[in-house]
Symmetry: C2
Subunit: 290 residues, 2 copies
């Protein structure tokens, strides 16, 4: 199932700005997964499984999500979530900001117990930012503020913000037992108004000479700069019409041509970790060799 | 004047470990200069010009440095600084941790009022980490824990930690009015025991084919990945015997061959900002175009 628009929220800029100011004033936590982003990534839980504002791990749980200290402070966002969605199925609500950074192509939920289609992730941009993109399947999107997006996080997806400007968004995670319909996430089913009027980024084909140049990067890659190449390759599909997972194919190619067996191993492990299967809380360290 | 060893401290691992645990538990602040590092960089002031633990800006001041909340918590490091150094000339004391990251080649103090040689920066590693390097002039160093290093921060220098392991260090900044001797930084001049027994990293010459490959990166560089190339090129001199400032020469070369005039401008501005002259608190944003 592809990512798509489920409905819209009219954001109240005045009320929203107070919450955004509060969120901007908080320090970044230590990120559970910031191994896979460069630049600035700040995730703050408003609801989670423990109510602890320092806990940013998405867990499989049957319990209702608990409001955190941050959720209590963000009265507008709290009201927005509670009035829009059916909170019975919400497992976690986070604000996520990504600035001047890329999140590498990956799949979520693979480490959890349920079938991936029992998890339903919703994203809502809270700010306009034309340089902040999401990719999923064969599509690159620039979400408009207030659009309620289903993000197919169980398939390969990535995110980037190619600007130094804030891109605050709300990420609402639902989980279901058994069959459900998309409209079930809403408090009032009439809010379910799917739309195909999305801001899709048109991407040219990847020119052959640029593809050659990418494959030639094996002449320069080594253990000290492998991670830069990972980020660099992760960005290509935002500009050119290639699948996000090609990132890992190229990485394997340039690792192979480097002649360093540890690079080859790392490229394979990374692919498996990011878009294959991983265990809950399993950590992967890009820059650790042998 | 080159970076060199000024003396040694026998670190008490038991007492030190309590302070390191406290420092590790603190969130990262918003970094004044993290535009120029990737990965994890965490600076925490123990003493500064305001006593505010959230203030990490080095300022020109005639006032004595004020102990911050962090300084009060780190009783061992506080005692170590006060018993070792002449605190009259200390302007700032920070702990700095850099993990799996590089700080690009730059000069410090250029934005301040005094002549650069009136500032005297001392670094002391608090942990052993063979993958944590500093460069200065034509030398790459791996500091040993307890070595008291003069870092010639007014000349071009860089830092990197090529591992995912902590590299906590103490950075003590002194400033003087007029003539002074190195031994004047110590509370007791007998602690001044300069040494050339440093762990210098031997680096091979940069092979011609690798240099060609670096210069060929212009085929792949664009606005979306310029910053990755900056970090990538900043690392080369840690592995090969080339001056750190060559980073900016290569960046200019690949920008020129990209054919994008904005990349050429950015490479020039960045060089000027990092190793030329900049104003106090002037900010530079790598990823902002046109």
């Amino acid at each position: 199932m592809r990512s798509h628009i489920l409905g819209r929220i009219d954001l109240d800029e005045t009320l929203l700005s107070r919450d955004l100011e509060y969120l901007a004033s908080l320090p970044r936590g230590e990120e559970g997964y910031d191994e896979f982003s460069n630049g600035y990534w700040k995730n703050l839980p408003l609801w989670n499984s423990t109510g602890d504002a320092g806990d940013d791990l998405y867990r499989d749980t049957d319990l209702a999500a608990q409001l955190t200290e941050h959720g209590k402070h963000c009265s507008y966002l709290r009201e927005l979530v509670e009035s829009t969605f059916n909170t019975d199925h919400i497992k976690m609500v986070r604000t996520r900001n990504l600035v001047d950074a890329v999140v590498i192509p990956h799949r979520d939920f693979v480490e959890l117990d349920r079938d991936a289609d029992q998890y339903f992730r919703v994203l809502i941009f809270l700010e306009e930012n034309p340089a902040a993109l999401h990719s999923n399947d064969d599509t690159v999107i620039n979400m408009r503020p207030g659009e309620i997006w289903f993000l197919d996080a169980g398939s390969v997806h990535a995110a980037a913000n190619f600007s130094p400007n804030s891109r605050q968004m709300l990420c609402v995670d639902f989980a279901f037992d058994g069959a459900y319909e998309e409209k079930d996430i809403f408090r009032d089913a009439s809010r379910y108004q799917p739309s195909t009027d999305a801001r899709i980024i048109e991407r040219p084909a990847l020119p052959a000479d640029r593809l050659d140049a990418i494959k030639g990067l094996g002449q320069v890659v080594d253990r000290s700069n492998f991670k830069e190449f990972l980020f660099l390759l992760s960005k290509v599909h935002f500009s050119y019409d290639v699948p996000a997972e090609e990132t890992y194919g190229w990485l394997a190619d340039i690792a192979a041509s480097s002649g360093d067996e540890l690079l080859v191993e790392k490229a394979g492990e990374l692919r498996e970790y990011a878009i294959g299967a991983r265990a809950l809380s399993e950590r992967f360290t890009v820059n650790s060799w042998g």
